[in-house]
Every structure is written in C-alpha cells, then in structure tokens.
C-alpha cells in the first residue's frame, strides 16, 4: 500500500456538493459510484442525488420501518440496493439537485450514466479499508458527525468520540503524517469528502485520524463496482 493516497490526485472525485438541509445518504452512494464508474470507463461524471431523493424508498430488511425517505435520510447500502435494482443513476445535469423531496420521481432509464455491478461491505481492519480504497475507488463510509458541526480544518482526532453513526460521507484517500502538536507526533489520517459545500472544513473535506476507529469511521464501509454503460 502506498504511504499516502488521494483519489483527488487521480481524477476520480467530483466537485464538492452542497446538500443543504436535504441529506439522503445518497451523497456517499453517488460519490462511490462516480469513482467506480471512473475506474470502469475512464470518465468522471457527476451523478444525480436528486434521483435518490425522489425515487429511492428502499427499506433496511433488518429494521422495520427504516426506509430511505427523501430528505429525511437513508442508509447507504439501501441506496446501493435501489441503484442496483433501478439499473443505475442519471447524470447530475440530466436530473439536477433541488434540495427538496416534494417532487415526483423523474427517473429516465434511457439516460442512465452509471450502473452498479455489485457492492460489498469492507471489514473493520484499517489496512483492508485502505486496500479497498486504492483498488476499488472512493468508499462510502458512515461516521459520527458530532465534531463536524464546529470543524474548520486540521486533522480531527478527538480524545473521545461516540461511535454512534449518524452521517454518510465518502472516503477518498489517506495521509501518513498529519500534524498533531499536543501528542508530539505525526499522525496518519483519512481524507473524507463531505457534502456541505466548499465553505465548510478544508474546501469541503474533512481529515480524521486513523488507528482506532475514531467516531466510528471504520465501522460501516462499503465498496461498489460499476459496469460500463453507454450514456446518451
């Protein structure tokens, strides 16, 4: 494994999005599929989150009533399941983001830009997470976002952080040496793409230290593979 790796340097990451107050857990799903599609086709295409907001009502088979529900949230694996069943996602420009869930589903199968071949969950082991990241592209992950409300920059490495997962993000890379002055040592970190616009964090990105499942970041990691499609 390389010591440092960042999919932004390899052209697999689209611009930072701003979900506003409508988070569907689709951002990490679209981000992972954008990366996988890039690896499969060589084309980086921004995919539609609004399609997920409007059309994905997939339910978690393990929790009654836990269904993806417009701006009220969802689960990333359910979003992958929907994408697999629907046949794929349209381009962002063909099905643009509105930030509301009051519209009807306008999915047009003839305009699918990327399709899921399969998706898998990755083990808790951080080396395996890094290996899957490097091999398969950006990974969908869940995290506890309590420290993200006030995050401005740097490597977040809280002494204590709940592992109760409440936010979906996209793991796009890792670094070997983030500066940690109080601990008097360099610390490795994950690079995470968020969906709160470029004015949040480090141009829309978040760095969180590696090594002890901080804020639950290693707990729920999914990788996706894309199939090549002919978009119109």
């Amino acid at each position: 494994l390389p010591e440092d790796f960042d999919w932004r340097d390899h052209g697999a990451v689209t611009e930072v999005k701003n979900q506003g107050s409508c988070d569907h857990a689709g951002v990490q799903c679209t981000g992972a599929l954008e990366g996988a599609n890039y690896l499969a086709t060589g084309n980086l295409v921004s995919l539609s989150e609004q399609q997920l907001v409007d059309c994905d009502h997939e339910c978690d088979p393990e929790e009654a009533g836990a269904c993806d529900s417009g701006c009220n949230g969802g689960l990333m694996n359910s979003a992958f399941e929907y994408t697999l069943k629907a046949g794929g996602l349209m381009k962002e420009k063909d099905y643009p983001y509105t930030g509301t869930d009051r519209g009807t589903c306008k999915f047009d199968k003839s305009k699918i830009a990327a399709s899921v071949s399969n998706f898998s969950v990755v083990s808790l082991d951080e080396d395996q997470i890094a290996a899957n990241l490097v091999k398969n592209g950006p990974l969908a992950v869940a995290i506890n976002a309590v420290f993200m409300q006030t995050y401005v920059g740097g490597v977040s490495c809280p002494y204590i952080c709940s592992k109760r997962l409440d936010h979906g993000v996209l793991l796009v890379g890792y670094g070997s040496a983030g500066y940690a002055p109080v601990r008097m040592k360099e610390k490795p970190y994950w690079i995470i793409k968020n969906s709160w616009g470029e004015s949040w964090g480090e141009s829309g990105f978040y760095k969180i230290c590696r090594g002890r499942n901080i804020c639950g970041v290693d707990s729920m990691v999914s990788t996706v593979a894309a199939v090549q499609t002919t978009s119109q």
Binding site: Q19, S21, D23, V27, D60, P61, E62, E63, A66, C67, D68, N72, G73, G74, L75, N77, S120, V121, V122, S123, Q128, A130, A131, K135, N136, A142, A145, F147, Q149, T150, Y151, V152, G153, G154, V155, S156, C157, P158, Y159, I160, S162, K163, R164, L165, D166, G178, Y179, A180, P181, V182, R183, K187, W196, S199, W200, C209, S219, M220, S222, T223
Partner: protein
C-alpha cells in the same frame, strides 16, 4: 454508545491550558460574540424572520461558541470554530443536516456481500 447529547456528557481530559486554542476563538468564547455573530450572518447570508428569532439564534450561536471551544480542547489537532451550522441547535443539526437513518446503533447488514480480503504487503 453514548447518550444523544454525548458531547455535553463526556468526561473531559485535562490538557495544557495553552494547547490547541482555536485561532478563531478567544479564551472566553463569549467575548465579542455579537461581533462574531455579525460576521457569521454576513459570511453565510443569514437573516431571521423577526427579532425574537434573531435573539434565539444569537443564544444558540453563543452556545455553539462554547461548544466549539469544548471541541477544541478535546480535539486539539483540528481547528474548531464558527461554521455555517453555528446557529443550529444540536438537535436541529442532527435533524436537518445529518442523513443516516436508523434509530438503533447501525450495524453492517448480515446479508451484504463481504469484500474479499486483499493483500496489503509488498
């Protein structure tokens, strides 16, 4: 797992008083809070429906300055301060900004495919 307002309930580790103080906040986060709030509204284009709402949001903002300082103490290698969410209560932030659904602690689905173990050396 920790209770919902876990960042309020956590045991606080004692750290050096000078360590990791945010560049964006003074020692007393409430000093200049009105000035910070004015800058915040301008930067993020915030406006409120009436004076009552404005006053409420200012109180929330002040609490979030304290929260940012608390986070700074607990997370000294990052910078914590004012963000576009500084006028949201913790529950508003969770309800409107965070999207992972599930009342229980989330677990990996048992029927999901498991990624094969990859070689990580050499």
């Amino acid at each position: 797992s920790l209770p919902e307002n876990s960042d309020d309930a956590l045991i606080r580790q004692v750290v050096d008083a000078d360590a990791g103080v945010s560049e964006t906040l003074s020692d007393d986060p409430l000093l200049g809070a009105e000035h910070h709030f004015t800058l915040f509204k301008k930067k993020y284009g915030k406006s409120y429906a009436n004076q009552e709402e404005h006053n409420f949001r200012f109180k929330v903002f002040q609490k979030n300055l304290k929260r940012a300082r608390r986070h700074q103490r607990m997370d000294p290698s990052a910078i914590h301060g004012v963000t576009q969410f500084s006028d949201l209560t913790r529950s508003e932030f969770k309800r409107t900004v965070l999207g992972l659904r599930g009342s229980r602690r989330l677990r990996l689905p048992t029927d999901a495919n498991t990624a094969p173990i990859l070689p990580t050396e050499g």
